[in-house]
């Protein structure tokens, strides 16, 4: 009869301990951490882009975590010049570190691919710029309209003939596509001053 109490108390103590250590302590330990150089709070558009990144589940194929030197080949692949640091994530309300690399890591994407034309074409039709890619296309982040109806303020997506809409229509980026691009351009790892380069 006391045994059932023992089971419950033991089970409770076990989980309470690991909760404290693995969930609460890191919050305390990292609560005073400074943002790394170049890490700034998101603007309205960037945050909106981040929300779209989360909504469309980009995380399930793209990590945001460059591995340290000597662990994996991220840096040799050109995915970043240093490993990611906790200070890179201080403005991330919801972390998007990710656990899968069906696609490449994106934590330093702004350094290696800053071209807006490339990103918009890639989002509209990944295979137009990355042959063999298995990434989904996101046509719903774009509009197809007659060339004559395009406003000067709108951004047209340059596409190769194979993927361009027929006739005198063009592909125009919606605000969502542009916001997503703005967010991707915040993903940049600047070098750190201290000598240690993990």
């Amino acid at each position: 009869m006391t045994r059932i109490v023992l089971v419950f108390l033991g089970a409770f103590a076990a989980i309470a301990m690991s909760f404290t250590a693995l969930a609460l302590l890191p919050s305390l330990q990292l609560s005073t951490i400074e943002p790394t150089p170049g890490t700034t709070d998101y603007t309205y558009d960037e945050q909106r882009g981040r929300d779209i990144y989360m909504r469309e589940g980009c995380m399930y194929c793209h990590s945001q975590q460059v591995r340290p030197a000597g662990f994996g080949a991220d840096q040799q692949r050109g995915w970043g010049d240093r490993g990611s640091r906790p200070g890179d994530y201080v403005y991330d309300e919801t972390h998007q570190i990710g656990t899968m690399r069906t696609g490449p890591d994106l934590h330093d994407i702004a350094s290696r691919q800053p071209s807006r034309d490339w990103h918009l074409a890639h989002l509209y039709q990944p295979r137009s710029v990355s042959p063999g890619s298995v990434m989904p296309a996101y046509p719903y982040l774009f509009e197809v309209k007659r060339k004559a109806n395009v406003q000067p303020s709108e951004v047209t997506v340059p596409l190769s003939a194979e993927y361009a809409p027929p006739g005198d229509s063009v592909v125009v980026a919606t605000h969502e596509a542009l916001a997503l691009y703005d967010y991707l351009m915040t993903l940049e790892l600047e070098p750190l001053d201290d000598a240690s380069n993990p």
């Binding site: 989360m54 399930y60 890619s133 989904p136």
Partner: protein
Amino acid sequence: MPDVASSSSASASPPPEESWRRVVDASTRRPVVAFIVSATVWLLIGSLLALIASFKFQFPDWWTQQPWLTFGRIRPAHLNTVIYGWISMAGVGVGTWLWARLLKTELRGQWLLLLSVALWNVGMVVGTIGILAGYSRSIEWVEMPYAAFAFIVPALLLVVVSFVQTLRKRHVHHLYISVWYLGAAILWGPFLLIAFLLPIYSGVPEATANWWYAHNILGLWITPPGLAAAYYFIPKVIGRPVYSYHLSYLGFWTLALFYNWAGVHHLVGGPVPQWLETVSITFSAMMIIPVIVVAVNHHMTIIGHFKKLKYSPTLRFVVFGAMSYTTVSLQGSLQSFRYWQEVTHFTHYTIAHSHLGVYAFATMIAFGSIYYIMPRVTKWEWGSPRLVSLHFWTTGLGVGAYFTALTIGGVLQGFQMLDPDVAFLTVVENTKPWLVVRSVSGTLMTIGHFVFAYLLYRIVTQSGTRPEGPTYFYPVPEGTFEAAGGNGQPTGTAREVEAESDR
């Protein structure tokens, strides 16, 4: 809490033998059927979502016009429906039946449990539609919006209330190990969910909390009912007591103490404090102890009775699951080491591992348990041994092929990613054949699920003429299952295995 214990154990006078089992089983009928049928509906939905997600790797331009069908929404919808819909509700359904049986008392709070099923289903509908409509929280394993958990957390708490009420009225002195696992899980599940839903995390600490949570949902919420069922059904069906009670206690406490520290191994090599990774790797390795203990205990129980696997659907599914538990856990311990994480983290290998756990272990044990429970609560029999056999082979071979393909594909993917001379798109190209195997094996498993759902529909509605006797794959030689009272027999007649534990 002390009250709970003292008030009840005094009344250790179960209803007369023979009839008590029928009374107890009948008292669980409504909630158990409701949970199991709901779980199965979510299994079908989750399977279809999985197939869509998988085939998108072969046809990336298929169904891209509709935002709600994009891969990044379908995939989390699959995970949430199978974890919170299928395996959690199946676990509660099976657990409820076991709870009343092992405490030898009628189930209390039946209406609370029925309310719980209703709330739970509403939560799942809100959550699944929420993810597909673009309201994912984008936190792995808890993508469903808060609105969904506003239904699911109360649903869980209602289960707790019913379990505690039943526990207080128990008619046994000795608590069998399955009761320990179920009792602990019913405490751990709500604790985990509530602790991680607190809006106190962000940045890297959120990632560690995330994996503390996600790993423990597997180990402390999905695993314990699976082990509880294995500990009950293996001895029950073969008709001999579990090999060692002492080992079962050791296995329980080592799981309780070690498992919940292991989760942060999902972030090895990541931007988390070093000590966290080291702690998690250490405890992951220590998990070898509970796993070996459980494996030895089950093996020593069943040894000499393997021929019974030929006949009994319950035994076949449950033993398949128990063996997968050993495999997946040993694999989990080994893959937490830095060297192997460097290769396999970020690859399809991890997906293979998680399906070995949730599917080959937990889901197969749930199937086996349901094959045993349903005839007892519906007073009907399974319509067709051939369809049960089809269910076993499609799901068994399906998950086998799934695991093999993604493990090989994932390891190759990992080694190629470690070699900077292999272009990334070449790595992608080389994984494609393995992903085709995944789609094919997923189709096989889904066919099995529809067969199972059909059988479940037939038994719940008591369709056709009542099939004769318990359901076996083959005609059973005289005396095979005597000691256990048969596999599918509506009421046990011979001596009860769990009753022996009262000595």
